[in-house]
């Protein structure tokens, strides 16, 4: 049953994706119109959709900076953080 449900959704992937975008949009609309921002701690949190932008930028930054950190050649040589699996065997 569970597998059928997942397959059902995968067969309609485009619709699911569109639906997700609609949810994201509605979430921002909800934030701008309904949410009581008294609980905010700083001024910038009052900007419309602040946490949406924060979440998106956080995600992109984490991926790009981490991958850079893993792939860049350190100390001018061949040393990378992401090394072959047999690194310690040699």
């Amino acid at each position: 049953m569970l597998v059928k449900l997942i397959d059902y959704l995968r067969d309609r992937l485009k619709t699911v994706i569109r639906l997700c975008y609609v949810v994201l949009g509605l979430l921002v609309v909800y934030d701008v119109t309904f949410v009581d921002k008294h609980a905010a701690h700083t001024v910038m949190e009052h900007l419309p959709g602040f946490w949406s932008v924060f979440g998106f930028i956080a995600c992109v930054l984490i991926i790009i900076l981490s991958k850079w950190y893993g792939h860049v050649k350190w100390f001018g040589g061949n040393f990378r953080i992401m090394s072959p699996e047999d690194y310690y065997d040699n």
Partner: protein, 596 residues
């Protein structure tokens, strides 16, 4: 000890010692009854001081029951039930014994009230949990276990040095809040001992190293106890120590970065423990009642959802023999229930509304904002986007969806795991959702009731729900837009263990060449001076001692030694021993210096 208090740790330790004698159809019921008994002991405890023993000049206290120890005792014995259920199919009694001894060690630390008792149980934890790595029985399990033991022994000795110095300075051995406003050398030594077990960088590399290599059910135990016992010790002894805020935030982000790079599902989860424990360490550093509540609540929730995640990924490893993303994928057709349970763990750790992380993690961030530590609060929020990115999205996506990298053999082996694993995961899943949806269950257990009641009014406010959903769903958007960048790569990530893995080789060379040359030279000099007569007499007495006296007393020692020799032959180098002896000598010198 009075009848009100039966130490749950001793229940598990005695239970473990009796385990090999319980055989046949009685074994499985016994594996469930002992942890349930330990849990019952915790439930019926009343606040107070129990189990006070006078030993030489010292007063040892085994049972201090208060709000702080109870919340940890409760969740640890509960997790022991779930973990034992998950490992019910394991036939080898030794693995259960090691696990129960290990939990017994944790509970010993939780309920003790002096540093000597703490130290004994602290070491019991390290020396019993290492077997959960060795029992994996792969070629690399043995050296991994030795590295784990090496690091923990060193950490234990730093802790020992810390509290012995404190004893020298103040004459006190009680395990209570230290004077964190005026830290001295011993405060920092005790701190290093604790944070090594909490896996704070740069003392963290033992964690992914060992947990990635542990047995399937061993990892479920390991992920719950060592780091959270350390969080308890920090909360008890060092609450409000400012440097912990910085260290906690660094941990939270460090774990996230390495989780992006990691290709092995269980090592990814291990890196994410570092990130999650970072929140707790930061909470302890903030030190307000709200923050300590948050650290306890987060430890409670974390033990369950991290256990659940290790159970989910462990069941994939158990069924297919694989745990690397580059060898898995598309498994939802074969292991749908394992997927659902892991997803629940992922949503809980990511702090989705109605899941457990939502009601615990935010309490620490909230305490940060309350204290106007904006940098810490914002960076911890940023790390929580990373949490969802890896554990909520990357783990389920690349195991159960994504590109199918399974070999034909892996694909054929994949199926939902045995019933006991499913039941354990279902129980943990239920608790994750229950804690998130019904806040009084967890909040009523927290040490500071007034703050907990205050926060209960805030946690499901429209602002908090909207903030969390925005961060999480837009993180998901980022994930799917950049998914190509996250394609698993078959690599390992170099971490701080490089220093004792590669640096150790340098030490080995040093030991082999110059020191050995000196040793040979010295040996020659010794012989030529003409000590043969003395040596001959000594040899006789040595023979008599060995065969006459020790033969009676030390038969056991000889057995242990022969076991050690057998283990040693499997080892490629004796580096660990060298360092171990060196560290031990240092410890003896410190003690001699202080008491001398």
């Amino acid at each position: 000890m009075t009848t009100d208090f039966i130490h749950p740790g001793f229940v598990l330790i005695f239970g473990a010692l009796l385990l090999p004698f319980i055989m046949g159809p009685l074994r499985k019921p016994y594996l469930m009854i002992v942890p349930i008994l330990a849990f019952a002991c915790v439930l019926r405890m009343q606040d107070g001081i129990y189990g006070v023993v006078h030993f030489m000049d010292w007063q040892l206290t085994f049972g201090r029951v208060d709000n702080l120890s109870q919340v940890f005792g409760y969740i640890m014995t509960l997790m022991c039930i779930i973990g034992s259920m998950y490992g019910l199919h394991v036939k080898d009694p030794k693995e259960h014994m090691a696990a129960w001894m290990y939990v017994g060690g944790s509970l010993g630390v939780i309920y003790c009230a002096d540093y000597i008792t703490l130290f004994i149980f602290w070491e019991l934890m390290a020396f019993s949990s290492v077997f959960l790595v060795w029992f994996r029985k792969r070629k690399q399990s043995l050296p991994t276990g030795f590295r784990y033991l090496l690091v923990h022994t060193a950490g234990g000795l730093i802790l020992l040095a810390g509290f012995v110095l404190r004893y020298k300075a103040t004459g006190a051995l009680d395990f209570n809040l230290l004077d964190v406003d005026h830290p001295t050398l011993y405060t920092y030594l005790i701190m290093v001992g604790f944070i090594l077990n909490a896996a704070v960088p740069p003392f963290h590399a033992w964690l992914p190293d060992a947990y990635g290599e542990a047995t399937v059910s061993g990892a479920v135990f390991m992920c719950a106890f060592t780091t959270k016992t350390a969080v308890y010790a920090l909360a008890r002894g060092l609450a409000g120590l400012d440097i912990l805020i910085l260290l906690g935030v660094i941990m939270a982000l460090y774990g996230v970065v390495y989780a992006v790079l990691e290709n092995d599902a269980r090592r990814l989860l291990a890196y994410h423990i570092i990130s999650q424990v970072g929140y707790m360490v930061a909470g302890v550093g903030i030190g307000t009642q709200m923050a300590i509540n948050g650290a306890c609540a987060h430890a409670f929730a974390h033990i369950l959802y991290k256990g659940l995640l290790f159970m989910g990924c462990g069941s994939v490893l158990y069924m297919t023999g694989k745990s690397k993303f580059s060898e898995l994928g598309g498994l939802y057709k074969k292991m749908p229930w394992a997927f659902v349970f892991t997803l629940i763990g992922g949503l809980s750790i990511s702090a989705f509304p109605l899941f457990s992380g939502f009601v615990s993690k935010s309490m620490i961030v909230y305490a940060g904002f309350e204290e106007h530590l904006y940098w810490a609060a914002f960076l911890l929020t940023l790390a929580s986007a990373g949490t969802f990115l890896h554990t909520g999205l990357k783990v389920p996506y690349f195991i159960w969806f994504g590109k199918n990298n399974c070999s034909k053999e892996t694909w054929e082996k994949a199926a939902d795991p045995p019933w006991n694993m499913n039941v354990a995961m279902a129980v943990a899943s239920f608790l994750c959702i229950f804690i998130g949806s019904y806040t009084p269950y967890l909040y009523k257990m927290l040490p500071y009731q007034h703050e907990a009641a205050d926060y209960a009014l805030h946690v499901y406010s429209s602002y908090h729900v909207s903030e969390s959903l925005q961060i999480l769903l837009f993180t998901a958007l980022g994930f799917f837009l950049l998914i190509k960048k996250l394609t698993p790569e078959p690599t390992i990530s170099i971490d701080m263990d490089w220093f004792y893995r590669m640096g150790g080789r340098g030490f080995f060379w040093l030991a082999r060449k110059p020191i050995q040359a000196f040793d040979t030279w010295f040996g020659e000099v010794y012989r030529t001076v003409g000590l043969y007569p003395l040596m001959t007499t000594a040899k006789f007495w040595s023979w008599f001692d060995w065969h006459g006296i020790d033969g009676v007393v030390d038969g056991l020692a000889r057995t242990v030694r022969s076991m050690g020799t057998r283990l040693r032959t499997v080892q490629s180098g004796r580096l660990q021993y060298n360092i171990y002896y060196a560290v031990t000598i240092v410890a003896v010198l410190i003690v001699a210096y202080v008491f001398g």
